[in-house]
């Protein structure tokens, strides 16, 4: 069917608009995209503030009573915070001073203990979004956790995407021997159960944030490799690539200047999926004790702690981590979608 092809109005007039400037114009026109950009930017600002210690610097301070109630649920009973009263022994007290060799010292120890008695600061009964088992502020934890989780998720995804794209482009574009070799590597990687691979890496490299990023990046590139390879096989024989070859463009120019922008939507969508997936993987790794170190907090460690709390009805740690994660990941996914549309001059 012959549809009428019309040049679309808008940026047709006027001076040159670079690819990025044009993309920005298009992104601004996308209401959901702009909103998501704002959300993601807010998260990034939050991360920056927490990294510099301005916000949530004191997340480790035990400011509340254990399992402090959220402020909005102030009067809910909190039996876990009450000091455990050992029941007084039944029956009349028995005086054993006569046979107790330490009896003469009790008075003296009592006096000395009174001299060095510490004053523990008063603990808050409620915290903005509740407290955890030690009375730490869940909100502060969630913010600090966002820093670690997003850092890990984004960097691991970027690493995996980079590896997957470069290898996929090479395999798809050149094919032949190079392609076979990379397919072989890919098959070996996917044949090993993922969790085993992660254990192996963790055992070799040790524990820490950088390890988590490395592990996830080195094990997570296979899916994107496969997709990018398929796209390159398809595009390498397209006429515009042939035309580039005809004018003498080099292999690397054809691979990365000509083809890559045309398949960038695949890469971007995969990147966003990987960020989501890796934030979740970090949870699992932390749960298994291979994730972030014990002195740090991430959404993953929060979720791991939340399991035991949920049984006794303390839902706020789970809610805080989930809410932060859901908002960020949704905004991030929608933003990558909007970005893909904005970067594609063919779509409106």
């Amino acid at each position: 069917m012959a549809a009428a092809v019309e040049p679309f109005p808008g940026e047709a007039a006027g001076r040159s608009q670079g690819v990025w400037a044009a993309a920005w114009t298009r992104l601004k026109a996308d209401r959901i995209g702009t909103f998501c950009l704002a959300v993601v930017a807010a998260f990034m600002a939050l991360i920056l503030l927490s990294a510099t210690g301005l916000v949530a610097g004191g997340w480790q301070v035990e400011k509340g009573v254990p399992y402090a109630n959220p402020t909005f649920l102030g009067d809910a009973p909190n039996i876990e915070s009450q000091a455990v009263d050992l029941a007084a022994p039944k029956g009349p007290p028995v005086d054993i001073s006569d046979i107790d060799p330490l009896a003469p010292k009790y008075d003296e120890w009592g006096k000395r203990a009174a001299e060095i008695q510490t004053i523990s600061p008063p603990r808050a009964e409620t915290l903005p979004f509740g407290g955890d088992r030690w009375g730490r502020d869940v909100l502060a934890k969630a913010i600090k956790g966002a820093q670690i989780s997003i850092f890990v998720g984004v960097f691991a995804a970027v690493l995996a995407t980079f590896i997957g794209t470069v290898l996929g482009a090479t395999a798809g574009y050149f094919g032949g021997r190079a392609g076979d070799l990379l397919e072989w590597v890919y098959n070996v990687f996917t044949a090993i159960p993922g969790i085993l691979l992660i254990f192996a890496f963790a055992a070799v490299v040790g524990r820490g944030i950088d390890t988590v990023i490395l592990i996830l990046g080195l094990t997570g590139w296979t899916g994107i490799y496969r997709l990018v390879r398929a796209e390159y096989i398809k595009h390498a024989s397209r006429e515009y690539v042939r035309a580039a070859q005809a004018i003498g463009a080099s292999h690397s120019s054809r691979m990365f200047v000509h083809i890559l922008p045309n398949i960038s939507h695949v890469v971007l969508v995969q990147l966003s999926l990987l960020v989501v997936g890796f934030i979740k993987s970090e949870v699992i790794l932390s749960f298994l004790g291979l994730g972030v170190p014990i002195e740090m907090v991430s959404w993953g460690t929060m979720l791991a702690e939340a399991q035991t709390e949920l049984v006794i009805g303390k839902w706020w740690q789970l809610a805080a981590a989930t809410l932060f994660m859901a908002v960020f990941l949704t905004a991030f996914s929608l933003l990558t979608d909007a970005l893909r549309d904005a970067l594609d001059p063919k779509l409106r």
Partner: protein, 563 residues
């Protein structure tokens, strides 16, 4: 042909694009399809001819809006408002459709027999045995060899022409009253096209059905139609009996369409284009002066000898099968002259261009360019020659990188070959080139998708010109364009040849275009050159049997004395 089988009245169809935009594709057209007659809808892309025809059976995309005042009367009912159930009884039985692309219209996972018998079982309630017999009868009727064996073939086992025959068999299975044929021969080779046209004409006559034939090609239409409806931009420009349209066209657009197609008998310096007719108020300025070819120089610019390309397929663990794409091709290309290469699909004509460019590596042979054998050069040495030989591909929609602006597309080759001192200078040159090929100077800031097919092909031409090539390979470069646009692009190519003495290797399946463009000619068949010589000589006295067959197949348009 007395009563009207279908009458379309005041048909308006719009398409919803995006959230707010509505584009009107058909703007209130009316026409009739009489009984037992062939009516042709002719027009260029975007004229609304397919949309009009598909509206009859309501096979429109979901975003189409048909104006409620439109009417399509068939058998006493308005098909546009008929309930979908009764419409489904009509579709495939009383009104059937044959589409352009037989390959994608047939389901690849079912045998052709199954697909034809499906129609019979749906509409006529035949038993499987009866249906099978009828399928064989139909396949015989549409001229498929060995119909009994072919019933169980899958679509990919048939050639393009045979697939289209299967589609036609499916369409006539229930003895329809109206057959809608939407560009049924456009995707086919010219010799196959001839057979399909003859088949449709024969079936129309035999079954006394009506045919609504949609085509962009007036040559084809003139051969098959009884009545012609010329459409442009959603309106009917002119309609009438075929002899009136061809012998005495009233409308300026119809006149232009008839004139801008290259003809076999004359070779004017410049082809008439639509604007000549529409702007001149029906009094076109027609150039009648003949085009003169540039004389041969002492030595050819390119001399190819024994050029072969053989593909080897693995057919077993050790077994290899050789498939020759080009065998022992030898030819010369002279400076400032055009060498036409004609042949049908699979004849190896495109491979020849690829071999010259070294976009495909030749198996054997040599290509002497100014005395240097291109095929022996290393990639680095080849770079110097890359800019001297350039290629324009067939599909202007695919050959431009959609992520580059026109400026970037034009500046890139200059950058690679270090033409121009700075990026600014290159962009200045790009703007000048854009103007030279007839684009607006500000187009260098736009993206390819903002241009029409003809404009894109101009961009592709400008990209080649940016390197000031001596040889330009035009690989079916105008085949995807509308006739009127084709004429303007061909005129541009001729002007450029005059100006820069560029040699063209003009590859096309379209014999009329090659006849117009070429000074010398090669005819290819199954990878071999079967005939060579000057274009005039080949067209006037073809020596090879295949060449004669090709020339006989060219749609001749309307001839008063057709039988």
């Amino acid at each position: 042909m007395d009563a009207n089988l279908v009458s379309v009245r005041d048909l308006r169809v719009s398409f919803r694009l995006g959230k707010t935009r509505i584009v009107e594709a058909v703007r209130g057209i009316s026409f009739d399809v009489p009984e037992n007659a062939t009516v042709a809808l002719v027009g260029e892309s975007g004229s609304g001819k397919s949309v009009s025809a598909m509206s009859i059976v309501r096979l429109l995309p979901d975003n189409a809006i048909v104006d409620p005042a439109s009417r399509v009367d068939f058998g006493g009912a308005n098909l546009l408002t008929a309930p979908i159930d009764s419409l489904r009884r009509i579709r495939g039985k009383d009104i059937t459709v044959v589409f352009q692309e037989p390959m994608s219209s047939l389901n690849p996972v079912f045998t052709v027999g199954f697909q034809i018998s499906e129609v019979l079982r749906l509409h006529l309630n035949l038993s499987p045995k009866q249906a099978n017999d009828r399928v064989i009868e139909l396949l015989t009727e549409v001229g498929i060899p060995e119909p009994k064996a072919r019933v169980d073939s899958y679509p990919h086992e048939l050639s393009g022409g045979q697939q289209q025959r299967v589609m036609i068999a499916m369409a006539i299975a229930c003895e329809p009253k109206l057959l809608i044929a939407d560009e049924p021969t456009t995707a086919l080779d010219v010799t196959v096209q001839r057979q399909i046209l003859e088949l449709i004409a024969r079936l129309q006559d035999k079954h006394r059905m009506s045919v609504l034939f949609i085509s962009h090609d007036l040559g084809v239409v003139g051969e098959i139609a009884d009545r012609v409806v010329v459409m442009r931009e959603g309106t009917v420009r002119e309609s009438g009996p075929v002899e009136a349209i061809f012998a005495d066209p009233r409308d300026a657009y119809t006149k232009a369409l008839l004139a801008c197609r290259p003809r076999l008998d004359v070779k004017p310096k410049r082809l008439p284009v639509i604007d000549d007719f529409l702007a001149g108020g029906g009094r076109p300025i027609v150039v009648t002066e003949d085009r003169v070819a540039r004389p041969h120089e002492d030595k050819p610019l390119i001399e190819a000898r024994g050029l072969s390309k053989i593909y080897r397929l693995k057919t077993g663990l050790f077994a290899r099968k050789s498939i020759p794409a080009v065998q022992e091709a030898s030819f010369s290309l002279w400076r400032g002259r055009t060498l036409g290469v004609v042949g049908e699909s699979g004849s190896g004509k495109t491979t020849i261009g690829m071999l010259l460019m070294r976009l495909t590596e030749a198996t054997t042979g040599e290509v002497k360019f100014d005395g240097t054998d291109l095929l022996r050069l290393t990639d680095a040495q080849m770079m110097a020659y890359r800019r001297r030989i350039q290629i324009i591909f067939q599909n202007p929609y695919a050959s431009l990188n959609p992520r580059f602006t026109v400026g970037q597309i034009l500046a890139e080759p200059m950058k690679i070959h270090r033409i121009g001192a700075s990026d600014d200078e290159r962009f200045e040159r790009a703007a000048a080139l854009a103007m030279r090929v007839g684009l607006a100077p500000d187009s260098i800031h736009k993206y390819p998708h903002e241009f029409s097919g003809g404009q894109r092909q101009r961009i592709a031409i400008a990209r080649c010109l940016s390197m000031q090539p001596e040889v330009l390979i035009c690989d079916e470069s105008v085949s995807a364009l509308d006739v009127s646009v084709q004429a303007t692009v061909l005129n541009l190519l001729l002007d450029l040849q005059d100006e820069f003495a560029i040699s063209y290797l003009f590859i096309s399946h379209d014999l009329a275009v090659v006849k117009y463009m070429a000074d010398d000619m090669l005819v290819m068949h199954d990878g071999a050159i079967v005939e060579r010589g000057s274009a005039e000589a080949i067209y006037e006295s073809p020596q090879h049997e295949y060449t004669r067959r090709l020339l006989r197949s060219i749609p001749a348009g309307y001839r008063p004395a057709r039988g």
